[in-house]
Amino acid sequence: MTSILDDYALNSPLREKNNWLKIAITVFGIVVGVSSNSPVTPFIIALCMSIATIRFSKVPLSLYLKILAAPAGFVLVSVVIIAFFSGNGSEIFGFDLWDHRFGVSTGGLNMALVVLARTISGMSCLFFLSLSTPMMELFFVLKATRFPDSFIEIAMMMYRYIFVFMEVAMGIKYAQTVRLGYKDFRTSFRSMGMMGTSLFIRAWEQGEKLYVSMNSRCYDGRFVLLEEKHPVRISEVVLTSAYFVLVLVVFYFTRNILLI
């Protein structure tokens, strides 16, 4: 863990765009992608979102592929299980193992491919949002909704302290590593325990100090933020509507198309 996606969002040219528009694009892509029964629509969504992220948000292609591969382990294992167990239809191939018949049917394979396509499209929509919108901008959105103040306060302070503790944790880890703190399983376990403890205690003391310092600055249970307004431009509305229409048309015409 060296950098998180938020770092890239801060430098993204799309940061200046309207938050609600970006959220609408993301949620639209996720919902349409997950409701599609054919792998074509998720594929189109993934393509559009990836182009938008790489072209407009100026994310390096190598980084984009790397983060897209992050969930690969879980997704591939689960997709293989779905291919073998789910669905019915004629068997494509199979084998016997411990008196059990394991086979992949057409239904199972189709299901697995659709799920794979949906996951890729959902991930690319999520990346579009998280690589173009820093968390601070999303707090404005949260404030506009009806979440309780205490929830937003905790979320905001947590966001701040994630970076503080991450830095402390990395520092401790380096210090432990150069002292051979991770040379074998036993020592690394002990080192992890010590790091977790000092992190926990430090976090707690930091929290108490934070309360005192905020109280002395008249904290009354709500942070007031000055929100920058990003009006939506006509060209953005046109482009977004064109994208929505394209996806919906593809969704309608390919709803019964399966790869196999």
Partner: protein, 234 residues
């Protein structure tokens, strides 16, 4: 055990939201009440949440060689109780989805149900019950945390098996055979992971009792008598 974005089909992702939203609302209600009574709890809960996030992004030393991360929710359940943990878990899961691309938005309901609600709730119930019969505190923390991980993983397998039952249609036997497959495959990483996380949490608690036992007294996790007894035993 995160379910990734787009993995659960309709109607399952909506159903898990229907399950999670009332619990989260109850958690927020409890949180608001607590904040009104003790305002200093806000920064403390925030740093605790950040601690859970950082802990869950650290790699555990793993025996099998696969990458495994602690969830931290068992520890939070022991310290703060399940209602508050569900709210903290929600925030952590949103951050993990946005920053680390672990989990997702449409699967948020399912992930909150497994990692934020059912796992911590069972861990808390176990912790309370075992504390009643005077189980050793460290053993109790170890078992409660490991249990939280296992329950989380069983719930995740259930969620996947309900969404993708064997044979295509949802039947009891189809669900069971699909559940066995998911549970068996994920067991290879989740069973050792839970033991590791339980041991790590118990170790952290041991250091905390030694260095800053009054903290646990403030949180009403332990009484000062128990702290003194634990210190005396070392």
């Amino acid at each position: 055990m995160h379910i990734f974005e787009g993995f659960l089909p309709s109607p399952w992702w909506q159903l898990w939201f229907v399950f999670s939203i009332p619990v989260i609302m109850f958690g927020m209600y409890r949180l608001n009440k607590l904040v009104r009574e003790r305002r200093e709890i806000v920064p403390l809960l925030a740093v605790a949440g950040a601690f859970i996030f950082v802990l869950s992004s650290l790699k555990l030393p793993s025996v099998t060689g696969s990458s495994s991360h602690p969830t931290g929710t068992g520890m939070a359940a022991v310290l703060f109780g399940p209602a508050i943990t569900s709210v903290l878990g929600l925030i952590v899961l949103i951050y993990q989805a946005l920053f680390l691309s672990h989990g997702g938005i449409s699967t948020l309901g399912a992930n909150v149900a497994s990692m934020g609600i059912v796992g911590p709730f069972i861990a808390y119930a176990f912790y309370k019950a075992a504390a009643k019969v005077n189980m050793n505190f460290y053993l109790n923390v170890f078992l409660a945390t490991a249990l939280a991980d296992w329950v989380t993983y069983v719930v995740t397998s259930t969620q996947l098996a309900l969404a993708f039952p064997a044979g295509g249609a949802l039947t009891v036997s189809g669900f069971l055979s699909s559940f066995t497959a998911f549970a068996a495959v994920f067991a290879t990483t989740q069973v050792p992971l839970a033991i590791m996380e339980g041991a790590l949490t118990a170790l952290i608690m041991k250091y905390v009792v030694q260095v800053k036992g009054d903290m646990l007294v403030n949180l009403q996790v332990l009484t000062s008598d128990t702290i003194n007894k634990l210190k005396g035993a070392m």
